[in-house]
């Protein structure tokens, strides 16, 4: 797998990008509202959610029934805020809820939005 991050990108600097962190949370649909509220309180300026299904440690959640649906939440923000949200989720939900969360580095336009 040739994941050499030192390869420089060939893109011309047409638009100006800034590095931000993308926090992705996959969790039970029933706590979507709480996660969104927590994220807002901890400093996120936006969030996006889609319905999802899947399986993991807590078994199969096939979404065939409202109580078995998952949701995929994406929050684009500064690294420190992503970290604060991830820490908060870890402290408050990991023990009792089906939940996965991970971070990636992305380049955004209009960095003031995030």
């Amino acid at each position: 797998m040739t994941m050499q991050p030192t390869t420089t990108s060939a893109t011309p600097p047409l638009a100006s990008y800034t590095r931000r962190t993308l926090l992705t949370v996959i969790c039970e649909a029933s706590i979507e509202g709480r996660v969104a509220a927590d994220a807002r309180r901890l400093g996120a300026h936006g969030y996006t959610a889609s319905d999802a299904r899947g399986w993991g440690q807590h078994g199969t959640r096939d979404g065939g029934w409202p109580l078995s649906g998952n949701v995929r939440i994406d929050i684009l923000c500064e690294a420190a805020i992503a970290d604060a949200i991830a820490g908060h989720l870890q402290a408050n939900y990991f023990a009792s809820y089906a939940m996965v969360c991970y971070l990636s580095d992305v380049s955004v336009l209009r960095s003031d939005k995030f």
Binding site: E28, G59, G64, W65, P66, S96
Partner: protein
């Protein structure tokens, strides 16, 4: 004699779903169809109850309502120590299960009413008021049982979750609209809400069969105690319901329906509320028992049994 029920067609739809699920068919009821059907069923049950309520003096309902809710509230208090001591379940799990079995299942109620209609047995139309009233207390008690002596209590959240929750909004909303509009005002809506009720209930039960089949796996973890509980508890609660109804002088149909209500375990409102208020409880246990065992048990065996019981008690109490 207990009326055999398996050929009542709506039950056959449940069995079809169950079989399809166990045979790992790719049959799936889209989640949106499930939600749409439950919106329909809740509104229709509410409307029907409201129309009946408009024919009724509300003052006469106060006493029976108090007795029915009071005795209903005893159910989770009885179930909790049994689950905790005999079942060796954690406090959270015992409290959550107590809440599920203390609350009621709207669809079990609907099947009970359909059963009575198909055997030609009348019942008090305002029974749906008790359905609404019995939904809450057990959930409150469940949260209290789980949180006793632990300081923080999310009762406020649960109250909002339940009262602003969609089942109550639709049931109570339908009840009020039916009550305000009366049988004549509702007439243009009959074609949808009353004529199609049984057909759409059948499709809903098909889906419940599929869901129940997918919950059988959870039962392996549950152990035999919970399996026994999921059959014994409805029989006990059903008997209590039939006795309470006879005491209050309800008709045979009303007694069968109250028994069905007490015997039914919530698998919509309770799981949602417990997931938020008692998150450390394992939802697989409670949903597995309520939906995997008690719901089919009530459909096929319970309801005819409660009806038989109600007829035995007629004139006795």
């Amino acid at each position: 004699m207990v009326h055999a029920m398996p050929f009542e067609p709506v039950i056959l739809f449940f069995l079809l779903g169950l079989l399809a699920g166990l045979a790992r068919s790719d049959l799936k009821i889209p989640a949106v169809l499930y939600e749409s059907l439950s919106i329909f069923l809740l509104l229709a049950i509410g409307l029907k109850g409201g129309v009946e309520l408009a024919r009724q003096s509300l003052a006469e309902l106060i006493l029976p309502a108090l007795v029915i809710v009071g005795i209903g509230a005893a159910l989770p208090l009885i179930a909790f120590p049994v689950l905790q001591r005999l079942g060796k379940l954690s406090r959270a799990d015992a409290a959550s299960l107590a809440a599920h079995y203390g609350s009621v299942s709207v669809v079990t109620f609907a099947v009970g009413a359909a059963y009575l209609a198909s055997v030609g047995q009348d019942y008090e139309g305002y029974m749906v008021v008790f359905l609404v009233l019995l939904e809450f207390p057990a959930l409150m008690i469940g949260v209290w049982l789980a949180r006793r002596g632990q300081g923080e209590s999310p009762l406020g959240k649960v109250l909002h979750e339940v009262f602003a929750g969609k089942s109550i909004v639709l049931l109570v909303g339908g009840l009020l609209i039916g009550w305000l509009a009366g049988a004549d005002g509702i007439k243009p809506l009959d074609r949808l809400f009353f004529d199609l009720f049984k057909g759409l209930l059948a499709i809903f039960l098909l889906e419940m069969g599929l869901v129940a089949a997918s919950r059988f796996g959870d039962l392996r973890r549950a152990g035999t105690f919970l399996l026994g509980f999921a059959v014994t508890m409805p029989l006990f609660a059903g008997t209590l319901g039939a006795l309470t109804a006879s005491l209050l002088g309800l008709s045979v149909g009303g007694a069968a329906l109250l028994a069905t209500l007490y015997a039914s375990a919530s698998y919509i409102a309770a799981p949602a509320a417990m997931r938020i208020a008692v998150p450390e409880a394992n939802p697989a246990l409670s949903i597995g028992a309520a939906l995997g065992i008690t719901f089919p048990f009530n459909l096929v065996i319970g309801i005819p049994t409660y009806y038989w019981l109600a007829r035995q008690l007629e004139g006795v109490v």
